[in-house]
C-alpha cells in the first residue's frame, strides 16, 4: 500500500506573531516553524497502516526551502521518502491553486491513499484534502480518527459534531483528512533521525508542475482581532451575582 501524506510547515503554536510591513502576512524572520498538528496525526495514521499492511509512506509538501526541515522530521519518524514542491510564492495562491500543485505531484505516484491533516494551524482553511479528492477524482472522507482496511476497501471512523461519530466505507484509492487525537504520536528515534539523512527527498519546482490558476479568492489584509469585549461585572454578594448571571445568560446572551 502506497500512502502519500500531504504535510505543511506552519509557525509554532507559541510563536510570537507580528504583522509584516505590508500588512499581508506575518513577519517570518524571527519565528520557529513546526509540522502542522493534524498533519502529524495524518503521518502517524499512515505509519501505522504501513506497519500493519506493508508498503510505502511518502510525505509531500509545498513550501519554501525551510519546509525541507519538516520533511526531514517526517522521514525521521518513519516516512520512506519525500517530495518537496518548492515555491517561495505560495502566499499569493488560493487553496485551489495549492491543491492543484499537490495533485500534479500526486498523480504520477498513483497512491492507494492520500492523507492530509484536517486543517492547517496558520490559515485554517480546512479544505486542501477535500479539494484534492475532487481534483484527483477520488472518493474522500474528512475528520477521520481511525482507518481500517476492509474487504470493500476502507472502513473509517469519522468525527461528527456534539460527540457523535460515524463509520464510513469507501473504496481505494481514496483521500482522507485526518483529525487530531486519534492516535498517540510517536517521536523520532535517534536511529530514525540518522536514517532520515539518507532518504530520498525529490525537489519539484512549482513552476515545472504545469499549474497556472489566477486566484479566485484573495487575502487582502490581515489585522489584529477586535478582541476586547465589554465586560459586564455583576455586582452584589455571591448569591445575588450568581442569580443575576443566570438571568443574563438566559435572556441576554441566550446561551442557557
Amino acid at each position: 500500500m502506497k500512502i502519500i501524506v500531504a504535510i505543511k510547515q506552519v509557525p509554532e503554536r507559541d510563536a510570537q506573531v507580528r504583522i509584516d510591513a505590508v500588512g499581508k502576512w506575518i513577519d517570518e524572520s524571527d519565528i520557529q516553524f513546526a509540522l502542522n498538528e493534524s498533519d502529524a496525526y495524518a503521518l502517524e495514521e499512515a505509519l501505522r497502516l504501513k506497519e500493519q499492511h506493508g508498503g510505502e509512506v511518502v510525505v509531500l509538501t509545498a513550501g519554501p526551502e525551510r519546509a525541507g526541515q519538516t520533511i526531514r522530521e517526517a522521514l525521521a519518524k518513519g516516512a520512506d521518502r519525500g517530495i518537496h514542491i518548492e515555491s517561495s510564492d505560495l502566499a499569493s495562491c488560493d487553496a485551489l491553486a495549492v491543491a492543484m500543485l499537490l495533485a500534479a505531484a500526486i498523480r504520477p505516484e498513483s497512491p492507494d491513499l492520500v492523507f492530509t491533516g484536517l486543517q492547517s494551524d496558520d490559515l485554517g482553511l480546512g479544505q486542501t484534502g477535500v479539494i484534492l479528492a475532487e481534483l484527483l477524482g477520488l472518493p474522500h472522507a474528512s475528520l477521520i480518527l481511525h482507518v481500517e482496511v476492509s474487504s470493500a476497501g476502507l472502513k473509517v471512523k469519522r468525527e461528527l459534531e456534539d460527540g457523535w461519530f460515524q463509520s464510513i466505507e469507501l473504496p481505494m484509492p481514496a483521500v482522507l483528512t485526518i483529525q487530531s487525537g486519534g492516535n498517540k504520536l510517536r517521536y523520532a528515534t535517534l536511529m530514525g533521525i540518522k536514517k532520515a539523512k539518507t532518504k530520498e527527498v525529490r525537489k519539484s519546482p512549482a513552476a515545472e508542475l504545469g499549474v497556472s490558476a489566477a486566484p479566485v479568492v484573495v487575502l487582502e489584509s490581515i489585522s489584529l482581532p477586535q478582541k476586547q469585549r465589554s465586560t459586564q461585572i455583576l455586582p452584589g454578594g455571591p448569591k445575588e451575582a450568581a442569580a443575576a448571571l443566570v438571568e443574563k445568560l438566559k435572556f441576554e446572551a441566550r446561551v442557557l
Partner: protein, 323 residues
C-alpha cells in the same frame, strides 16, 4: 436567478441553529448588495424544514430532493448542488460552517473553479469576508475575485439568527439527476461515543478551571457546576500539569482550541496561552477574585469574588432555573 442562496443544513427534519445563522448572514449580504435571498434545503423529503424556512423573510425556498439524498454523502450533495447552481446561477452561496459543509463544499467550489471562503466570522462592505488566522491570533480579510459564484461558510455564533424577520416565501422543488453508482462512500448511521470521550472542540458549553481552585480536592465544586449546566469540564495548563485533570481537557495554545456557546472560566487569570484557545467562544463568563485579571478583558460577564462562594451559589442558581 441571481442573488444570494443560503444552503440550510437540516437534521431529522429541522433546520439547526447554525443554519438560521447562515440565513441571517445571507440576508445581511442580500440587503447590502441589493440581491434577492433564497434558501435551499437538501434531502429525500424536506417539506418540514422547507416550511420552517418559508416563514422567514426570504424570496424563495427550494427543496432539493432525491431518494439518494436521504443520507448525507459528499458525492450526493455535491452532484445535487452542482446541478442546482447550474440552473439557478446564484452570485453568492452561503453555508453554515458545519462538519458536513466542510466535507463537501470545498469540492463543490473546486468543481466550479472556485474556492470556499470558509469559517467566516464577519462580513464588511466590499464584500470583504473576515476569517480567523493562526488560531485567532490574527484575522484576515478575504475578497472573491473569481468569475463564478462566491462560496462562503459562516462560523457558528458569528451571526445572529434572531435578526431574521418573518415572512412567507414560496416553496419550489428541484429534482437533481443522481445515479446510485455516483455515490462512492457508504456511511453507517451515526453513533454516540461513550461518556468518557472528551470532545471539547464540539462542546456547546464548557466550565474551565484554573489555578484559583488551589487543590485537587476542590475540583468537585466545578464538577458540580459543569454537571448542572450540562457542560464539559476543561482546564488551564497548570491543572493538567499537576495531573488533576487529564491533558485532553486542557484548553489553550498547547491544548485544545474551543469555541463553545458558553465558556465559563473559574479561577483562571487568562494568560495569553489560555486566551488563544477560548476567546472565540460565543459567550465568556469569568469568575475571579482579582478584578485586574486579564480574563476579564475577553469576558462578556464577570463576577469578582471568591470562587469558593460564587461557584456553589451559581450551581444552585442554575439548578433552580432548570427545575
Amino acid at each position: 436567478m441571481s442573488g444570494v442562496c443560503v444552503v440550510l443544513e437540516q437534521k431529522d427534519g429541522a433546520v439547526g441553529r447554525v443554519g438560521w445563522e447562515a440565513l441571517a448572514a445571507g440576508a445581511w449580504l442580500g440587503a447590502k448588495l441589493g440581491l434577492d435571498v433564497s434558501a435551499a434545503v437538501i434531502g429525500a423529503g424536506v417539506s418540514a424544514p422547507a416550511s420552517a424556512a418559508a416563514a422567514k423573510a426570504v424570496a424563495r425556498i427550494v427543496r432539493i430532493e432525491h431518494p439518494l439524498l436521504a443520507q448525507y454523502t459528499p458525492d450526493g450533495f455535491t452532484i445535487a448542488l452542482e446541478q442546482f447552481i447550474a440552473q439557478e446561477k446564484p452570485d453568492y452561496i452561503v453555508f453554515p460552517h458545519t462538519y458536513q459543509v466542510r466535507d463537501f463544499a470545498p469540492a463543490l467550489a473546486a468543481r466550479l473553479g472556485e474556492v470556499l471562503i470558509s469559517d467566516v466570522v464577519a462580513i464588511a462592505d466590499g464584500p470583504v469576508f473576515t476569517r480567523q488566522l493562526l488560531q485567532g491570533r490574527l484575522q484576515g480579510g478575504y475578497r472573491h475575485t473569481g468569475t463564478g459564484p462566491c462560496f462562503v461558510s459562516v462560523q457558528a455564533g458569528a451571526f445572529r439568527s434572531d435578526t431574521l424577520a418573518a415572512g412567507s416565501a414560496a416553496v419550489t422543488a428541484f429534482s437533481p439527476t443522481i445515479d446510485a453508482a455516483q455515490i462512492r462512500t457508504r456511511p453507517d448511521p451515526p453513533f454516540r461515543a461513550s461518556e468518557q470521550t472528551v470532545d471539547l472542540g464540539s462542546a456547546q458549553m464548557i466550565v474551565s478551571v484554573g489555578r484559583g481552585i488551589k487543590e485537587a480536592d476542590n475540583l468537585p465544586l466545578v464538577h458540580n457546576l459543569a454537571k448542572a449546566l450540562g457542560a464539559e469540564l476543561a482546564a488551564s495548563r497548570p491543572i493538567c500539569d499537576n495531573g488533576w485533570l487529564p491533558l485532553e481537557r486542557q484548553v489553550g495554545s498547547s491544548g485544545q482550541t474551543v469555541s463553545p456557546r458558553l465558556y465559563l472560566a473559574v479561577g483562571i487569570s487568562g494568560a495569553i496561552q489560555h486566551l488563544v484557545g477560548m476567546k472565540g467562544s460565543q459567550c465568556i463568563v469569568a469568575i475571579n477574585k482579582d478584578p485586574d485579571a486579564p480574563i476579564f478583558e475577553v469576558a462578556d460577564y464577570g463576577i469578582v469574588g471568591d470562587l469558593f462562594e460564587v461557584v456553589p451559589a451559581l450551581t444552585q442558581a442554575i439548578q433552580a432555573s432548570k427545575a
